[in-house]
Amino acid sequence: MKKKDLIYYIIFLLVFAVILPLGHVAGLVSTNTISLWGRYFCFAIAALGIDLIWGYTGILSMCQAFFFCLGSYGIAMHMLLKTTAANGATVPDFMVWNKIETLPLAWIPFQSSGLTLVLCLVVPALFAFLIGYVLFRSRIKGVYMAIITQALALAMWLLFLRNETKLGGTNGLTDFKTLLGFRLADTGTKMALYGLSLAVLCGAYFLCNRMVHSKFGKVLLAIRDSESRISYAAYNVNDYKLAVFVVAALLAAVAGMLYVPQTGIITPGRMDVKASVEMVMWVALGGRGNLKGAVIGALLVNYLYSICTSLFPDSWLYILGFFFVITVLFFDKGLVGVVDMAWQKWTAYKLRRAAIS
């Protein structure tokens, strides 16, 4: 097991920490491609959170995209305010069009970069805590949990679409120029963000890995397998669920924070009902209950997406839908499960060959 993990890690780091950056330096890989993969890393970070809550704990949360967007909007607000200040205006352009003259109260803290970082983490965590507290307390689980979180995502999406929320409505927030003084258009900034995303992904993976291999992780699995049994063994299930829900939300928020500077736009479209289900599907396709699976799923699906939409734009939904169905029906453990099975078959075959000869 350990040896195989190591192979995965080496391949991953070789491709993304060595080959891609070197390729860029050599002029073989465009800045765009680098930036694209940087964004995929963000998705992979969010996928880790989903794997924790769904793959390990068995709670299907369908509002992870909302947490993702909370992080995104926080950073986006900060960057927009900086850009506005640089232009000498008091409020961002979209507010001028909506006839808002003074900066809304909720925007004021985002003028400071330190406070922004704190709020981008605290706000999603607080949301997750409140939602989780209410839902877990009334023992809502399984399908009910999925449906209610989905309805929540829907409601929040509708809320963000409104101009009254003062978050740019349907158009979202865009036109950022700098982050912490670095120009976003610079190749150097893009490379740095790519590196940062990769580093955060590796760090998050490491922490999640530690978490799921500790006794904490075993309790999570136990909650997934038999919630009543583990509570009769005197574990306070709600605390654990709440903790992992908050952690998942935080991972999504961090992912969102890294995502925005790399795309340069955030709209409510990122948090609609579809977005959350798609995030869950990354994990399902990659292999749930397996952190490697979550990362691989997120990277692969998004890579496929960018290929398919440019090659045959109309068929992407067919392909995605088909993968959804096939994975759920036949590949319970996702891609990683398939690879594992093939590996086992192959070693068994080798052993038999060795035994014969």
Binding site: K215, F216, K218, V219, I230, Y232, A234, N236, V237
Partner: protein, 251 residues
């Protein structure tokens, strides 16, 4: 008295599932509860462990009122429950199943930074040996046989060091041999714990009922006596075992 129950009642949709005026249990006693289907036996255990909320009445455990407390609080007070259907964690190894059950601090942070001590390992091994699962320690619990899962669940309950163990039909679906082994295990455990066992298998009841047996019928207490008295009581034969119960005739 370790456990005493007063005027306990619960009903589901107008049907009285349980109306128990009085019930008590000594420390280190092994009590068997029998009764026909729907007599309220499992419901009684459900109330004791906090799964079902009683409509009225009080349950005192070690002189503490436990009605109204949550499962976790009750479990911490020292009541362990083994379910009718074996409920173990199929996705975890037998060792992990036991580890999770073992008595220790169970909050999030202790779990995150938990390191297994030698003492704990010894204890896990000891219990595993008692239920005969040492060779299977590294196997996934889901791959065990039905009987092994029953024992694993008993081991899980034992590891919580409960003062009182609630055991629901431990012999259901076991072979004769496994049943006998389970009975011996329960008898051995009764040296250290108080135990309430629900059972249908009369041979098994005969094996373990060294003390008193309680008979429930339609949620009410019919009688409480030694097994030999109970099985010859005409009321029990009439309303529970039926006039021509082959099992009883064998005995």
């Amino acid at each position: 008295m370790l456990l005493s129950v007063k005027d306990l009642a619960v009903s589901f949709g107008g049907v009285h599932a349980l109306a128990l005026s009085q019930f008590s249990l000594r420390d280190k006693e092994l009590r068997v509860i029998i009764g026909p289907n729907g007599a309220g036996k499992s419901t009684f255990l459900d109330i004791l462990c906090g799964k079902t909320k009683a409509d009225k009445g009080q349950v005192f455990f070690n002189d503490t009122l436990i009605t109204g407390k949550t499962e976790v609080q009750i479990a911490r007070l020292g009541i362990g429950r083994k379910f009718q259907k074996p409920s173990v964690f199929p996705g975890l190894s037998v060792y992990d199943n036991l580890l999770l059950a073992a008595r220790m601090k169970k909050d999030i942070f202790s779990s995150l930074f938990f390191k297994a001590t030698r003492e704990l390992n010894d204890r896990l091994h000891q219990v595993a040996e008692k239920v005969g699962l040492v060779p299977q320690l590294q196997k996934l619990a889901g791959s065990l046989s039905h009987g092994q899962q029953q024992w694993l669940e008993i081991a899980i309950v034992v590891l919580q060091d409960p003062k009182l163990m609630l055991v629901d039909e431990p012999a259901a679906g076991l072979s004769t041999e496994e049943t006998e082994k389970t009975g011996a295990l329960l008898l051995e455990l009764s040296n250290d714990h108080s135990i309430i066992v629900i059972e249908h298998d009369m041979q098994f009841v005969q094996q373990i009922a060294k003390e008193r047996v309680t008979v429930l019928v339609s949620g009410r207490l019919l009688m409480e006596d030694t097994f030999s008295v109970v099985r010859n009581d005409q009321r029990v034969i009439d309303c529970y075992l039926g006039r021509t119960n082959p099992q009883l005739e064998i005995i």
